[in-house]
Symmetry: D2
Subunit: 149 residues, 4 copies
Amino acid sequence: MSESHPHKTRTSVYEVAINFGDCDPAGIVFFPNFSKWMDAASLNYFVQCGIPVWRELVKTHGIVGTPLLEINTKFIKTATYGETIHIDTTITEWRAKTFTQRHIVRRGETVLCEGTEVRAFCMKDPDNADRIRAMPVPEFIKAACALSE
Amino acid sequence: MSESHPHKTRTSVYEVAINFGDCDPAGIVFFPNFSKWMDAASLNYFVQCGIPVWRELVKTHGIVGTPLLEINTKFIKTATYGETIHIDTTITEWRAKTFTQRHIVRRGETVLCEGTEVRAFCMKDPDNADRIRAMPVPEFIKAACALSE
Amino acid sequence: MSESHPHKTRTSVYEVAINFGDCDPAGIVFFPNFSKWMDAASLNYFVQCGIPVWRELVKTHGIVGTPLLEINTKFIKTATYGETIHIDTTITEWRAKTFTQRHIVRRGETVLCEGTEVRAFCMKDPDNADRIRAMPVPEFIKAACALSE
Amino acid sequence: MSESHPHKTRTSVYEVAINFGDCDPAGIVFFPNFSKWMDAASLNYFVQCGIPVWRELVKTHGIVGTPLLEINTKFIKTATYGETIHIDTTITEWRAKTFTQRHIVRRGETVLCEGTEVRAFCMKDPDNADRIRAMPVPEFIKAACALSE
């Protein structure tokens, strides 16, 4: 991996066909649906990188998922039902126990919204099965997401 | 209104009983539901200030709602079904065509997440009924939200 | 228990405040939300009868929930945001491994929709943790739901 | 059209990729999502038959949508995230002001659930813009859905 792009990661594309029920009385997408679709794009990213879904990873690595610590989203244009949109997802930063994922939601070339998510890989708390706790980002996951040179 | 609190606004409290279906396979609230509940708290804020719902305002003032321009949310603790939570909402800034609403989501005194929303009052675009456009924040709305001295 | 009411059960009332985001571009409640609220009313029914939520019952009795086998719903009148509605829930029949729950959704005295759900108490499949299977309706649950004479 | 199949209609196929957030704490699809997907399949059916979405039809024909009068759904097998499912949709009966749509939800050849929906084409009530009312099923819609011989 080149020094100039020390943490360059892959990009995935996730497609969403907007439904009638995704829209509100103003006739536009009810905004939390964009968060829901970014969440789907987040998991899809890892699947596209060849990582099994959480249901499998919990058995092999104890990983239950990647809960959110923070989201920042800008809504630029509205969308409505009958339209198909795409979400371009990448990872912009790996830290010890967290990472930042970036999503660009677009209809063709028109950007509808942009969001960043800070997430942590989590496991069941060994002291309390009802709780979860952050764990270091597994190396095999970073490797799977790296852009091959 | 006193000079020392030039834009002081009311605070509303919105209650949510968390349901089984609001939670994900990790057993915790699926995070976009927090965004959904903040949206409900946002409209509830105006209703608590004595402002009619959008369905009525569209007839009297052409206002179709307050779409989001930006959200920033920090997720601090998880929550699960069977719990009741509260959202404290206030307006922290009025600008010419936008305003910032702040939500503190808590279970008792424990803060679960904090979010700010930048929103704009919008009307149907007179040139295209399928589109909406931002309008200056109506003075009667600012007055209704002001904390009485 | 009297012979004339051999399976008489309690009735619970569940309240829902309809939100903007629960409604669709026609301005009315997006109908799957009625199913979602009936599901919440279903769990609320057992909680009102003094039964712990599934998260606790899975530890003490292995019960993971009451998945649906069948629903039948009639939609009579529409509802919209800003309205508060109530759901009256009761159990109309206990069978060996299933039971029927009935929900009346009303706005004041006006019935909006009526639904029956056939559900089964389920446990994790001991042979495959990814699957669940129906179990006989536990006697302590039937007793908790019975109308005291 | 042949006499032996007096009301034979087309069949459409709708694809759904199940997301993490579509599943509940039992790890399976939260059942109202099946209703939501059948609703999407219902509109998709008409679009596949060449009929414009409601947003356009309201301008040309005053049609705001096809609200539900009744649903009957049988849940046969569960599904979970990471799986892709398909919904086969057809119209089994046209009546004066209502019609019945049938949906088979399957994962490959395995049927997960089956549902029928009774719906009505609706227009804004000319006497009250906040209400909608059923209208006769438009002939051009029946023609568009007919299976060509």
